[in-house]
Symmetry: C2
Subunit: 396 residues, 2 copies
């Protein structure tokens, strides 16, 4: 049985991006950039006034001791200046305006008194260059602003707007089909008998995929029947990612692995040393990959975070895997068995942030897990987690 | 000048939800639940088999010492059983199936040998009740599954599917208008002269709002002209949230506060002891609230996270404010001045997660901030942050 890392290694070996497409900046949030974005000019593009005040040449103040200046021009943001400066002169200037090169320092309006077209500086010393953001100090024209292979967040989107890019190249999204299997599974609006339960795994997977803007092409429920499974899976195999749940364990009606193999999906592994989610099956055909997950809701949730999301990120060339944090544990927890175990947890940030487990009755518990903010790893070789031990934590 | 907490207090005093509407579960991700969702039946709804194996009465094994059992029925998930058990009998049962009450324990298939319709148990001891998730152990019928006033994540959506809710009540979204002001500001596809810059603040705000599924009704750019500002703001005032950027500082062309007040927006405060974002103006009229932010991109980004997002969360009755973490600082940082200061940072999780500042040239730096994952607070009364000091950190 493979370890988590071994299983991830196999999964990652199948990852490749699904091509590139152009989208508008308005649709780019959450997409993964597929081109390097370069600065179209210097930033700031001019010596930008960082304060409302008076722009002057510092030598006038420092060496010539001038404290009263004649205002030769008012410069507003968005306008060029017309006049150059002589000794003893200054510009009145507004935040965001282009400071002419004749001036090299700005004094804040709060530190001055203006009388008609004269202004007195009320400070005893100044710092040359103060309150001017120099042209090109943030970025030079032609420098890299955003490298390819990052998932675009609001801050990135703003920087793309700054450099005037309204259309950009991002990686295409994969096509995904979700098949939930089981004779006990009913659709959300169907009547359930006492021995039946409602399908929820497709909602988990679909919701997680929305974070990457990935739509689900088709969601279906199929009973534990070899013919019907063969038919449904066969019709779904021409997809980039097929995600099944249920039917992968030791039960007599667990036909999913054999049906997948009969349909030409090459098994890359079956079973991982992880709890929950041990019976995970993973394979590949000429169209893409197949994740066949156990049917328990918590198993599906963990499998998504530990295997499917990292696969997506790897496929999109994202430089890091999901955002794992390493935080102190805020409880005591003993573990039996030899599996790496993921447990639902919350973050308690009353003082220093720590990871606190939430109660759950097992991987079939579909209602208690809602109180968790994510999952923490209780590693196989640690029989006990103590307060303060550092654990890996992943937000849902 | 108000502190951050005082400003937030005033902002929160204006928060009220925007009513309630019904949405489909397929549109509910990220929305805030406005009703308590109750368990429609016990969970598990029956004594659920947690393993593939054999269900029997533990007294047979423990007190009568029986090791070989007659299989009277095979029970699959999704089907009721037909037979009751006599001493020395068992059911063959699959994961997820309803275990009849005649049996109280399941032994894993791995720990048995089956010969025709007889099965031998290969273990020396068993635990009564093992491998059965008891009816109602996760949740009783009528118990609360999800309380109102939570932002729905993928795990919540799955639990809503489980209990068969396909339509649910969520808080309505506010209508939002964004006005970016400044003679120096050009639209993304317009030509920029050397003393002009491109508008990016509306992209920041719009992107952040998407996380709450809040659409922007209108985005406009208005020059620093009192009449044009009056006209534009006047046309935009009938909205739940009006967000302006630029024109709120000490400059001679900073007309936004006076225009807002002339149009009947009551000023609740102007200026907060925060860096960046000090000139923040906040007011209210009969339609809603107005945030007038400084024009610098980093100021807008911080103001959104520290004032606007908490206002939204408060309006949606979310029980906690944005997800603040408290983590050790991974650098040394001195601070001048008496303002609470937010600095762009990354999380380094090589070992225990710590907060590491990223370089930025000031609040006008529109390109360097892209390397940060969030912001950390350098509090006003701490002249120096040292390695290991605990700081508040917020993901973007």
């Amino acid at each position: 049985m493979f370890s988590i890392a071994e299983a991830q290694h196999i999964i990652f070996s199948t990852a490749k991006n699904w091509g590139v497409e152009t989208v508008s900046i308005n649709e780019a949030l959450g997409r993964v950039l597929a081109e390097d974005l370069i600065s179209d000019r210097d930033y700031p593009p001019f010596n930008r006034a960082a304060m409302d005040g008076y722009a002057f040449l510092s030598i006038d103040f420092i060496e010539k001791g001038i404290r009263e200046y004649k205002i030769v021009e008012e410069i507003y943001a968005g306008y060029p200046s017309k006049n150059t400066l002589k000794s003893g002169e200054c510009y009145k200037i507004m935040t965001g305006a282009a400071t002419p090169i004749a001036a090299n320092t700005i004094i804040r309006v709060e530190d001055t008194i203006q009388k008609e077209n004269q202004v007195e500086f009320l400070v005893s010393e100044i710092q040359s260059g103060k309150n001017i953001a120099k042209q090109g100090e943030d970025k030079r024209k032609g420098e890299l602003v955003l490298p390819r292979n990052i998932a675009l967040n609001p801050i990135h989107i703003a920087s793309i707007a700054v450099i005037g890019i309204s259309q950009l190249q991002v990686y295409k999204l994969p096509s995904v089909v979700i098949i939930s299997t089981g004779d006990e599974i009913k659709g959300i609006n169907e009547k359930v008998d006492f021995f039946q339960i409602r399908e929820s795994n497709s909602y988990t997977v679909e919701s997680f995929l929305k974070r990457y803007n990935i739509p689900v092409r088709k969601k279906i429920i199929v009973p534990d029947n070899k013919e019907k499974l063969t038919q449904a899976i066969s019709a779904a195999l021409q997809t980039d990612i097929l995600i099944l749940s249920g039917g992968v364990s030791m039960g007599d009606a667990d036909y999913v692995p054999e049906v997948l193999q009969a349909l030409g999906v090459k098994k890359l592994f079956h079973k991982v040393a992880i709890k929950p989610g041990k019976p995970l099956w993973f394979g590949q055909n000429q169209y893409g990959v197949v994740f066949a997950l156990p049917g328990n809701p918590f198993s599906v949730q963990v499998a998504f975070k530990i295997f499917i999301e990292p696969f997506l990120r790897k496929s999109f060339n994202l430089s890091s895997l999901t955002n794992i944090m390493k935080l102190p544990f805020g409880a005591i927890r003993k573990k039996k068995g030899s599996l790496d175990e993921y447990i639902p947890c919350c973050i308690d940030s009353t003082s220093q942030s720590k990871v606190v487990p939430t109660s759950i009755n097992g991987s079939g518990d579909v209602t208690s897990i809602v109180n968790s903010q994510g999952i923490a790893l209780h590693e196989k070789d640690r029989p006990e987690l103590k307060e303060g031990d550092i654990v890996s934590f992943l937000y849902w």
